[in-house]
């Protein structure tokens, strides 16, 4: 049993999904999904502990050994990302119970939870697998589930957003598929380790370079790297609350993980950054993302829109750290990947609470929130502070590392960039906070969200504070992930 845990992690939600869809009532589906998500979290956590204790875990699917069969390979990096995905899922699912009840028709709820489980499956699968084609499959599983889930949004614009995402996502996946196809043609293998070992021999070919470009653009769409982010704001904005809480914390993070894996572990820094100078492109795009998306966030009239654009900007931060390709930069990048999941999850969850009670999330809905929903508003404030990067919150730690990395690399303009973007974050968060607390509202009845939503929300908020104060755990994890990446191709 113990050695099958890596596959169980992926299979469990996958098996639960059809069961879920067949359950007659949404409530039961929710209970099942929640139970599964918790089980997944437990498994993921135990795997992470095992990875740290025993080193990399390799699991051959179906008993076929690595180069031929599909290998699931867990190291310090993806075990961490798995835990992250599982943890967010374990928080979002309990949270989703009430908000799904409110936002989605009763007869469609089992389907919703089934799709959510599939989404989890896809994400966990992407992270776990050591086979690039398998990645494609899981990528499509998660993407398809995402398109469907977004389409559950109450607003009819959710449909259009889902459609647009579908078209763009399919193009992205296809580009990725072409890329790995070319790589396969060159090297004859799909196993990541193998690929990494054989690539240097053919690195000088145009085919290899084009393949890398295709893979990077395909992943760029998935991770919403500026300017390939255009599908994201509306998708996050109009998706059901639970989904907009889940996606930014996980889906883009997994895509970023994948990019890191490709660049550092498969292509190798020397090739992707040294020869192809992709780091320059990434740096430029990251900077543009941070500025442009923050500026856009400042002008949004809908809080979920603000948060969505902020997510685009935060992807910029993460890519920025990675593009520096230094140990501190990567640590910063991974830390921010982790911390941003915490903060964005909490922020969108708070908006879920608002959606439940107020029915919309535009700025007018926020007016007087501090009195109407004090706990929700307070959670938003704390998570918002973390987003800005205020000391004593998780956001500060990752930004601090990022700044250190920039300074160490001698890129002081980047320091200014980070600070300016943080200042803009301050402005867009402050707009919401000021309205919540300092704008009078006629109806000042107190109607707080139910406890089932508040508890997961505050769990994430407390995690934001915890990882802002006691950084030993998160930094150690990020550093072990960093070491995996810095070690480069075998």
């Amino acid at each position: 049993m113990r050695e099958h845990l890596p596959i169980l992690l992926v299979v469990l939600p996958m098996l639960a999904a059809p069961i879920c869809s067949m359950l007659p009532r949404g409530r039961q589906a929710w209970l099942l999904a929640t139970a599964v998500s918790w089980a997944v979290l437990a498994i993921a956590a135990s795997l992470l502990i095992r990875v740290h204790a025993e080193g990399t875990i390799s699991y051959a699917l179906g008993g076929w050994p690595a180069p031929i069969g599909i290998e699931y390979r867990l190291d310090g990096l993806n075990a961490l990302v798995q835990v992250l995905v599982a943890a967010i899922a374990a928080c979002v699912l309990p949270f989703s119970g009430r908000s799904v009840q409110d936002e989605i028709d009763a007869d469609r709820q089992p389907g919703f939870f089934a799709l959510l489980l599939l989404l989890i499956t896809g994400l966990l699968g992407i992270v776990a697998t050591g086979d690039v084609f398998n990645v494609f499959v899981f990528l499509e599983i998660s993407s398809l589930a995402t398109y469907g889930l977004i389409a559950f949004g109450r607003d009819r614009r959710a449909l259009l957003a889902a459609y647009r995402y579908l078209v763009l996502g399919s193009i992205g996946a296809t580009l990725y598929l072409i890329g790995i196809g070319l790589l396969y043609a060159l090297t004859g293998t799909l196993n990541m380790q193998d690929l990494a070992a054989r690539l240097p021999a053919v690195a000088d070919t145009r085919t290899a370079q084009t393949a890398i470009t295709l893979v990077m653009v395909g992943l760029g769409i998935k991770m919403a790297l500026f300017p390939l982010h255009l599908w994201l704001p509306n998708a996050y904005r109009f998706a059901p609350s639970a989904i907009s809480a889940f996606l930014p914390a996980t889906a883009t993070k997994v895509a970023i993980y994948l990019m890191l894996r490709f660049v550092f572990d498969i292509f190798g820094v020397g090739f992707a950054f040294g020869r192809l100078e992709l780091n320059e492109v990434l740096l430029a795009l990251a900077a543009a993302a941070m500025l442009s998306a923050s500026l856009a966030a400042m002008q949004q009239r809908d809080v979920k829109g603000i948060l969505a654009y902020s997510s685009v900007a935060q992807v910029g931060y993460i890519v920025l750290g990675a593009a520096l390709a230094t140990p501190i930069g990567l640590t910063a990048s991974l830390l921010h990947l982790f911390n941003h999941a915490l903060m964005k999850g909490a922020l969108f969850m708070a908006m879920g609470c608002v959606m439940l009670r107020v029915g919309r999330t535009d700025l007018d809905a926020i007016r007087g929130l501090g009195r109407r929903m004090p706990w929700t508003a307070a959670a938003f404030v704390v998570a918002g502070l973390s987003l800005i990067g205020v000391p004593l919150t998780a956001g500060f730690i990752s930004k601090w590392y990022l700044v250190l990395a920039a300074l160490e690399a001698g890129w002081w303009p980047l320091v200014i960039l980070i600070l300016v973007a943080s200042l803009m974050a301050l402005i867009y968060v402050w707009r919401v906070v000021a309205l919540a607390y300092f704008a009078p509202n006629e109806s000042q009845r107190r109607e707080e969200a139910p406890l089932s939503m508040l508890v997961p929300l505050w769990l994430l908020v407390l995690a934001n504070i915890w990882f802002g104060i006691d950084t030993r755990l998160s930094v150690a994890m990020a550093e072990s992930g960093m070491r995996v990446l810095m070690a480069g191709p075998p």
Binding site: V167, L168, R206, T213, G220, P227, S292, Q299, R301
Partner: protein, 561 residues
């Protein structure tokens, strides 16, 4: 710290405080008793440092007494008493309170044994005298008081700079004779000279004193300038520069007083002139000259107080202040007239008045040192003094043409005060030895020699003759003569306004530039990021796909080139 002593300044300050609290009979009693108690305390003080206190990390010598300090303190206390008597019924309580605190400051300066406490009392004087000026009420007093305060605070800061520098550079806070060398001592001298009304910074005196109330100007005339004289005696005896400054002051005072029409302004200029005599004495610096300066200060306070009292009485009874509007008052105010004449004679050094026995000591000092030019100028100035103060003031105010006014004599307390002062003028003049006994150095000077008396009388006679010969030219019209106060009455405000205007322009320019920049920023950068801007507005699927394709093409092209 020695045995318990009553710091005289403290007594005076307590009195000032109580005056502001008590009312009626008790207040009146206090007004009269406070200076007398202070006087008593002054004469209880032995020589040397009597009281010290820690301050700013130094040990202050709050009370240090010697002969010259005691002399000045005595006359200050006496003047406070006379002024208090004069103001007893007429002045407001806050004017009296301020005036007594002012006197307290002056007495404090007298006994200050170190530079820091000297400065503290100096500032106290500046503040309280401002209050005295303001007590007159009205807009003219407000503005004059403001200018007065600003100038004196400025002087105070200069003095402070000098003192701090001196302490820092020499390591000692002792109040001692200084040598004019380096910034510090020059700044100290400058600060003191501002209070001594040395030109070109003398204009405050003719600006502010005439705007005070009748009783206020009596107080004002006594303390500030004479405290400065004392300070100069203590710190700059024998500084040659002071002779020059003094001579300039003497003639400045005469010329402006002759040109002046306002009776109290004439007296104010006359203070400059008289202080000039004292400065000359200090500048000569011999024992004789210093004695003369101290004695002259003593005498001057009395007769100038008397003159201001009579001018104040006239002002109070008639409400007029210009010579050209007054005249013929001797008919209804005989006592005031007589007192004014006594004061005028005293200031003109008429034999058997106080001025005679003091001023001549300074001249003698000059003669002893063989400073011939100085002696001649002093003598000539004596004539000038007689012209402007000795004759011009009483003649235009009390005699001349009849203005038709028949004001009554002032109330009893004012009359009593005037009589007291007049008596003092003559008493000192007749029995100089009493004053001489108080002087800092032993006096071996006999004023009443036949030659001296005759010379002085001749001088005065010819000066008087000249006055009446030139009378048509002496009649003043309604003019205000231009003085150095133009600097801060016109130039400084003008500069200030210019600065403010410039500031506003700069401000506007910055605002404008910022505004234009922000518009540009809004249009070029912010607007596209609005929900409707092209960067953000919902892109169609096709446009997004095209974008992806372009990005891809760009990247591949970049690698393949």
């Amino acid at each position: 710290m020695t045995d318990l002593v009553w710091p005289p300044a403290l007594l005076m300050l307590i009195g000032a405080l109580l005056i502001s609290v008590l009312r009626g009979r008790w207040q009146a009693l206090l007004i009269l008793a406070t200076p007398l108690c202070t006087l008593w305390a002054i004469w209880q003080l032995g020589d040397g440092v009597l009281q010290s206190a820690p301050f700013l990390g130094y040990s202050l010598e709050l009370v240090e007494a010697d002969r010259v300090r005691r002399l000045f303190a005595t006359i200050f206390a006496l003047m406070a008493f006379a002024g208090g008597l004069y103001a007893l019924r007429q002045a407001s309580w806050y004017e009296l309170s301020a005036a007594y605190a002012y006197a307290g400051g002056a007495i404090g300066v007298c006994f200050a044994g170190d530079l820091i406490s000297f400065f503290l009392f100096w500032e106290l004087m500046a503040l309280c005298s401002t209050l005295v000026i303001w007590s007159a009420g009205g807009d003219a007093a407000r503005r004059a008081g403001l200018r007065y305060a600003a100038l004196h605070l400025l002087g105070g800061v200069l003095l402070k700079l000098g003192i701090v520098g001196l302490i820092l550079h020499s390591g000692s806070i002792d109040l001692r004779p200084l040598v004019l060398a380096g910034w510090d001592s020059w700044l100290i001298l400058l600060g003191i000279l501002i209070n001594a009304a040395a030109p070109p910074l003398a204009a405050w005196i003719s600006d502010a004193y005439p705007e005070a109330s009748p009783s206020g100007s009596v107080f004002l005339s006594a303390f500030t300038t004479k405290a400065a004289v004392l300070a100069l005696i203590l710190m700059f005896p024998g500084t040659q520069l002071l002779i020059v400054v003094g001579l300039v002051m003497i003639f400045y005072g005469i010329i402006y007083a002759l040109l002046e029409n306002d009776m109290r302004r004439i007296l104010a200029y006359s203070i400059v002139n008289q202080v000039g005599f004292m400065l000359v004495g200090i500048g000569i610096g011999t024992e004789m000259a210093l004695n003369g300066a101290a004695a002259h200060a003593f005498a001057h306070i009395i007769y100038k107080g008397l003159l201001f009292m009579t001018a104040g009485a006239v002002l109070m009874q008639t409400g007029k202040r210009r010579c050209s509007e007054l005249g013929g008052l001797y008919q209804s105010m005989p006592l005031t007239t007589i007192c004014a004449i006594v004061g005028a004679l005293a200031i003109s050094s008429f034999p058997f008045t106080s001025g005679f026995i003091s001023k001549s000591m300074i001249a003698q000092g000059a003669a002893d040192q063989h400073l011939a030019l100085v002696w001649y100028l002093l003598t000539a100035a004596s004539a000038g003094v007689f012209l402007h103060a000795g004759i011009k003031f009483p003649w235009f105010v009390f005699f001349q043409k009849d203005s038709g006014m028949r004001p009554a004599e002032p109330p009893w307390n004012m009359r009593a005060a005037m009589l007291l002062m007049a008596f003092a003028c003559i008493a000192i003049g007749c029995a100089p030895s009493a004053l001489y006994a108080l002087l800092p150095y032993p006096v071996a000077y006999v004023p009443y020699t036949a030659g001296h008396v005759i010379t002085q009388l001749q001088l005065l006679l010819f000066a008087g003759l000249a006055f009446f010969v030139m009378l048509p030219w002496m009649k003043r019209t309604l003019t205000i003569s231009l003085d150095a106060d133009w600097l801060y009455r016109v130039l400084v405000p003008a500069l200030l306004h210019a600065w403010l205007r410039l500031w506003r322009h700069i401000d506007d320019a910055i605002d404008g530039a910022l505004g234009r920049l922000s518009t540009l920023w809004q249009r070029l950068v912010v607007a596209p990021h609005r929900p409707s801007g092209w960067i953000v507005a919902s892109w169609t699927t096709g446009a997004m796909a095209l974008g992806v394709l372009l990005a891809l093409a760009l990247l591949i092209w970049r690698h393949l080139i």
